[in-house]
């Protein structure tokens, strides 16, 4: 799977309360989540984000609560992939489970507005601004399998069990 999009760069420890505040989480309406995504980090993000755009962050992206509304809000806003130095554990699982690809990169030279090309299957990020390539960390096989089915719902529909 090859994705292309523009980078939106944010810092370290972007917690789930800032990805989608608790007051907006009690809904099954994905558009409502998308309308408030990241508003306490960047109030304009939900207005400027374009389908296919990518979030690029620092350490510990998604720390805090277990709310799956965090990756759902990001996905519903049209973001195709989140790239970060590291992810909080629950967020990592949640994103893969709903079919939002993540790439863990120890270092990168990316600024907001750069065009990126991401090879999700092989975890490679191509920086089209300066032609640098970055190799992402390998995910456990079980996660690769879940992501290749576009999430845990489709995975369990198909395989019926984990073993």
């Amino acid at each position: 799977m090859i994705l292309k999009g523009k980078a939106h760069v944010y810092g370290d420890n972007i917690d789930t309360d800032r990805i989608i505040p608790g007051k907006y989480t009690k809904t099954l309406d994905m558009q409502q989540l998308a309308d408030h995504v990241l508003e306490d980090v960047d109030p304009d993000f939900h207005k400027i984000v374009q389908p296919g755009d990518m979030i690029v962050a620092g350490e510990n992206f998604g720390c805090g609560s277990s709310r799956e509304q965090a990756p759902l809000a990001i996905k519903a806003a049209g973001v195709s992939v989140v790239i970060a130095h590291s992810f909080a554990r629950i967020f990592f699982r949640n994103a893969i489970n709903i079919g939002l690809p993540l790439i863990e990169l120890s270092s990168y030279n990316i600024q907001t507005g750069y065009d990126l090309e991401v090879d999700v299957t092989n975890g490679i990020v191509k920086n089209l601004y300066n032609n640098e390539d970055y190799q992402g960390a390998k995910m456990p096989d079980v996660m690769v399998k879940i992501l290749s089915e576009n999430g845990l719902v489709e995975y369990l529909k198909k395989y019926k069990s984990y073993s």
Binding site: R18, G22, K23, K26, E68, Q69, R89, N97, Y162
Partner: protein, 417 residues
Amino acid sequence: MEQTLIEKIISNHSSHPVMAGDIAIVDVDLVMATDTTGPLTIKAFENMGGTEVWAPEKMVLVIDHASPAPNEGIAVLHDLMRKFAKEQNIKLYDVGDGICHQLMIDHEHVKPGQLVLGADSHTCTYGALGAFSTGVGSTDLAGAMLTGQTWVKVPETIKINLTGTLPEGVVAKDLILHLVGKLGIQGATYQAIEFTGEVIERMTLDSRMVMANMVIEMGAKAGLVDLKGLDLPYEFDMLQPDKDANYIQVLNVDVSNLEIQVAAPHSPDNIKNISEIGDVSIQQAFIGSCTNGRLEDLHAAAEILKGKKIHPNVRLIIAPASRQVFQDALSDGTVEILSAAGASFLPSGCGPCVGTHQGIPGNGENVASSTNRNFQGRMGNRNSNVYLGSPAFVASAALHGKIINHNECKKEAIDSL
């Protein structure tokens, strides 16, 4: 094969023994979801083709995060949960029963040595009972509802050995805040923590729950509290790690000189000694949450507020962790003391902690709170500042209208006698 506690528990739930780093398919003893995560969980379960939960007696639903419903949209979600619980014959705790983690322990849904998944990040609280319990999202929980299993990566373990004696007025909350500050917000990501030592052995169950509850604030998957010294109303196996188990890190902490600890805005690892805080006025004070809304917490507040009135500029809000806690505090006179001092009581639930309703601070306001997170906007307003501390810290702030060292206040009161 010498194993840590979590390696043992996961091995006991897997088809073969495992060590840190292994991926294991495990049998789950219990699953739990709340009104933040439950509706999405139910939808995911149905989308997976689920019609019957694998074991209805091993599932619990709790309406606690926006409870009672503050608006029509949420009322509809609550009803969706009630309907599902009824159809599937699942135990549901409704409005006012209490906060999920308190109910899971008090009603003995969780026992030592079990493996529990909860669609709430503070599910790690049951580590107080020596259970491996961890927070997952809605879809992971739906997968367990369908199959009775999940997959886990067996975590490495940090051992924290706590020695000495906590000074008077310094409690489990100060200790866990100190450790969150020391390890940092991602200091234990993907790892488990074992708490052990004489300090733990003397702790009440309430205090052990405080320790396990906030390990997620270091990114940990689980926080297992040594069962030594724990008294439970039933018999249980005192599962212990092997003597030569492999730890990624061993921390020895002498608690004897620990000061009162405060997490300053806007991160739970922004920890300061109270003496470093300076002059901070307080407009709202909140005692409650799965971290510190238990009986010993209300007692600590009542000890400070007995016969006094809170500062006129402060709103003191209290949400007991469960109806049982409220009733116990009613019958022993604690509620009367706190109410007479000016506290407002809310139904048991999570509301103010997670910013859903019933106590959203105003612009520029400072809040003293006994909860677990103070990320920007956590309590529902990004333009407010939340200071986390123990219930005694919150009660003192409510009394004086500013952050103040309750130990020094006590000393001054004694000196002036």
